[in-house]
Symmetry: C2
Subunit: 345 residues, 2 copies
């Protein structure tokens, strides 16, 4: 089969690799129909996150079940399924708590020895626990929105939950990337009254407005803090979603939270903790939560909303390509010409 | 009247100062019968926290109302009252949310222009909102326990709440000072099943055991992390109470939390954020909350438990002195010969 391989910084290619196949009784093989490129893939692409040469890449996909192991009971060949960005056993204490990302038997698509999402097929461990089956007859036009549930939308939702977004509350989202935009959508879905997005790319902030942002703050740093405070009577917002992962973004996030508020951070931290102003957090009782999103836990409720037409994150995909064009897709995202690339197979 | 004054590092004296008196219609004057010295007073004593020469000091007290302003309706002269360590107006949005420490009209006893708790009397702004009246006939022997509600016990409780302590959960408390010990008591009160205290002062860890600690870990740093993990099947605890305020303590606290757990920190941060391992927090979804404790919000429920005999933090007081001996009390605490000093007037 063919799959995307990362051989080094900026060295992405689509290559022939061994076919995905059932190895364990709990495995399934999924023939990928839709995959995408994540902002976090760019860290590997740029050489900031280390990868072994020849590692697969891509952790967001949906497709059709091709084969299942003998112990798989919940899905059958022919079922359409979506995968969260990590697999998990579904039976450990962490999975029971919904923290699938801490499953001791879990893993991340593309890690050495596993298939990545940006390929023709994927061997899925613990298929019953990992995959979520779509109802028969799910319309094709909803599939991009469903694909977004494999990571970005679930991650945006995790930011919102971690930031304790509540109906009627005020929210700020730091970052106008695909996760930040999904954070806007998540905050709106929970019922936030006011949603300020911090971003300066007009095409993206336009999507933010479609998603429910009430205000756009293009400033950065101290000027951004001042702008958000001005919009909120000097007080800041109840909930801040930090969807960038830099020290500056964290510093801004903490500074625009209202006393007693919470920051939910889902931007993979690149840098140290210098942006975590612990003294300010202490004096103003600002909480910090979040991390790698257990999107599997959120998939059922978000999927129900997508299927019912109440939730549509698909506008984050602004470029659609075929598998062969994947290297070009990385370039487009790296050079910020594309917000998020969907790969259709 | 006479009150404790700080004139510089290690320069604490009891001096004649202007009498406390009603200045605003919402003021009361409280004649102090019990006060105490806080671990955080030592930061001022040591010159680490800046004070203007001549500033008053002490922020924990209870006493008898001597006089009230014309607008005070809830308390009368002769009432016995306990004060939280900050005053607050009781009517702003923050006070309505229970975050009294963020009240824009609030203040801290001993700040320039105000009386401190370690003196014969205190002018109390917003007396109706700030003070909590004790029922007539409250037995004298309960007063030390009530005094602890003015700061340490409420602060320990805030750590427990911020660390999301829950019935049946596992808890670790970093620090065996008075606040850490009250954190143990708070965790026990909420119903934690296992409570590990990290401390190496036997007299203090003995109190921790009386308060409900099930395990004592005298190690520090990596050895402490290993010890707590060993006690918890390798996983760490659901809730960590950080009651020290150093970078090392924070680093330890985060490292001993279970994935998906929470750290509640109430140790005034001295140092920066270097101990906040944001990458570890991200990968393991560890939340961080806490800060300066809004003890006024907790006073009614904690007081009810003290009066009912269900809660007794008074063992944290291991030295009782008169007002004149206050400078000596600072020495005793600074040199760790006393855990917490009660001043009786």
């Amino acid at each position: 089969m063919r799959a995307t391989v990362i051989n080094g910084p900026k060295a992405i290619s689509v290559e022939h690799v061994p076919d995905a196949e059932v190895r364990n009784p709990t495995d399934a093989v999924v023939r990928v129909t839709h995959a995408c490129i994540c902002g976090s893939d760019l860290w590997a692409y740029r050489g900031v996150a280390a990868r072994e040469p020849g590692q697969r890449i891509g952790h967001e996909f949906l497709g059709v079940v091709d084969a299942v192991g003998a112990a798989v009971t919940g899905i059958r060949p022919g079922d359409r399924v979506v995968a969260p960005f990590v697999w998990a056993d579904g039976v450990c204490d962490y999975c029971a708590d919904g923290l699938y990302t801490s499953c001791p038997h879990g893993g991340f698509w593309g890690q050495p020895g596993s298939d990545g999402g940006q390929g023709e097929a994927v061997r899925v461990p613990f298929a019953d626990a990992t995959l979520v089956r779509l109802p028969d007859g799910t319309p094709d036009e909803l599939l991009p929105a469903v694909l977004a549930l494999s990571d970005v939308m679930g991650t945006g939702h995790h930011a919102a939950v971690s930031a304790r977004v509540r109906p009627g509350g005020t929210v700020a989202v730091v970052g106008d990337g695909a996760v930040g935009l999904c954070g806007v959508l998540a905050a709106r879905r929970i019922g936030a009254e006011r949603i300020v997005v911090l971003g300066r790319h007009e095409a993206r902030t336009d999507i933010a407005r479609r998603f429910g942002a009430t205000d756009v703050v293009p400033e950065r740093g101290d000027a951004a803090v001042e702008a958000v405070r001005e919009l909120t009577g000097g007080e800041g917002v109840h909930s801040v979603l930090e969807a960038v992962g830099t020290e500056d973004a964290m510093r801004t996030a903490i500074s625009i939270a209202r006393d007693g508020g919470a920051v939910g951070y889902v931007g993979v931290p690149h840098g140290g903790s210098a942006g975590v102003d612990i003294r300010q957090m202490f004096n103003r009782n600002i909480a910090l939560g979040g991390g790698v999103a257990p999107v599997r836990a959120y998939l059922p409720e978000l999927l129900a909303d997508v299927l019912a037409g109440r939730l549509d994150p698909s506008p984050v995909f602004d470029l659609e390509i075929g598998l062969d064009e994947t290297p070009k897709g990385y370039e487009e995202m790296d050079e910020r010409r594309a917000l998020k690339v969907m790969i259709k197979l």
